[in-house]
Symmetry: C2
């Protein structure tokens, strides 16, 4: 693991690191914020998964999360959204290939060699950060925006016991029924759509739910509302009596201005679960 | 004036607007955050001037200022740092030409046609925003980062009565004695260095000071410490018994991680003066 940069930030350290990923067969970069408390012992962890076109950097610089995490004594991890590098397959569309890993393990060519983001986030990166930083891996929570909200919800529901709480900002909530999902799943996972269902938050919510609190924020003026399908997830949450809150935020769109507005609430929500 | 974008943000609106600038003889872009209170009547204004290489956008997306401004019911204005456009003179160096206006009126070729940032910020843009938004121009304050801290301090001290308070993050504090200053003043203002002195915060502090509170934050690990010369300004502030605070922040560098860490303090500092 190599250190790209470390900046003092809200009394802690905002670092950027690279490492050679076995899952993705390429070098991967991630951001990690350690609050001052980490100098005295392991701290709880909040994962933030980003959306389409993002790298590790977008949320790290635009979401205003570090101040709230510092206040709560929580570490933040900002992974990248796809494998990277010249030999990594790509597509000219913004929503397939680099920057659009969709948090799945691809089984189809030309994607399968590098696009193993599920394994990267479920196994490889947690092991790496646990080995290298003062993190309490018994206390993890996860959140994300858009495609990252999809990743956060599917990981949380598929790995029972891993995360104490999950939240999402405008998640891609029902990808098997959306052009943000069907296109990518067909490319990465193939035409057999039974392989898609483990990666759909609405279907997972209907099938199993999450053993802990859930918080979803959705902007009422989101320009991608029809692609996100929040109504499917909200319905599934209510139908299953899921412990959780779904908030429709009047006037907000899909941007980081929306994310940053509600970041304090999300960090506070996870802190309550992490500090229990 | 044209609206480029408007996003709901912390209950208010983060807008981006363009207009044809008479001072700079080109189209200029600025960001403006209006808190919810502006829907009921004029609100106080905090100007934020950015540093080298920045546009109107950097602080708008990276500094986390809107949340604090919303809490205080204060508008934020994020001007650009130089004239823009294909016919605007430029230099291959990052610290001269576009993105490096240094908040002066150039008198020398090839700069003088467009680089009139002092007039733009002292006269043209205030008049434009006063005409178009619910702003209380009797209650203005100003801050900035690096080159923008230089701009904030020189404008505040040169326009007595305009601003109720001034602050800066790691300002270029003594440009007539620094390579961040001498090079640009020579290019924009010419070899006669008597024309430079009105644009040096340390010299202005020695000569006249500011009739109101001053807050300066400086990172102790700032990679540009030697170019900024904060010790000159701190000395001048103390010598004149200037109402104000100079804080050396241990461990912090020159980045927006530093700016965002102390943004709450700066907005709160200005709010106290603006709401008096």
């Amino acid at each position: 693991m190599k250190t790209v940069s470390e900046n003092t930030c809200f009394g802690g350290v905002q670092g950027v690191y690279t490492h050679t990923s076995k899952s993705c067969a390429c070098d991967m970069t991630f951001g990690l914020f350690l609050p001052e408390e980490a100098t005295y012992g392991p701290v709880p962890v909040l994962w933030y998964l980003s959306g389409l076109t993002c790298t590790h950097e977008n949320a790290m610089v635009k979401a205003g999360a570090q101040g709230w995490a510092a206040e709560q004594g929580i570490a933040l991890i900002f992974p990248d959204t796809s494998p990277r590098g010249e030999d990594v397959a790509d597509d000219e569309a913004y929503d397939l290939g680099k920057g659009a890993g969709f948090y799945v393990n691809a089984t189809q060519d030309p994607w399968k060699r590098h696009f193993q983001m599920w394994d990267y986030l479920a196994e490889e990166l947690p092991a790496l950060v646990a080995d290298n930083f003062a993190l309490d891996m018994e206390r993890q929570a996860i959140t994300g925006h858009s495609m990252g909200g999809h990743g956060a919800l599917t990981l949380a529901m598929s790995l029972p016991g891993r995360f104490v709480s999950v939240s999402a900002f405008a998640p891609i909530a029902h990808p098997t029924a959306s052009d943000w999902g069907r296109k990518q799943f067909a490319a990465y996972l193939g035409a057999d759509d039974s392989t898609w269902t483990p990666h759909d938050s609405t279907l997972l919510m209907r099938d199993r739910g999450f053993d802990g609190p859930v918080l979803i924020d959705q902007g009422a003026d989101d320009q991608f509302f029809d692609l996100l399908k929040p109504e499917s997830l909200a319905g599934a949450m209510a139908a299953r009596r899921q412990d959780g809150t779904f908030r429709m935020q009047k006037g907000y769109d899909h941007s980081y201005f929306f994310v940053s507005t509600f970041m304090e609430d999300h960090v506070g929500f996870h802190a309550e679960a992490l500090h229990e």
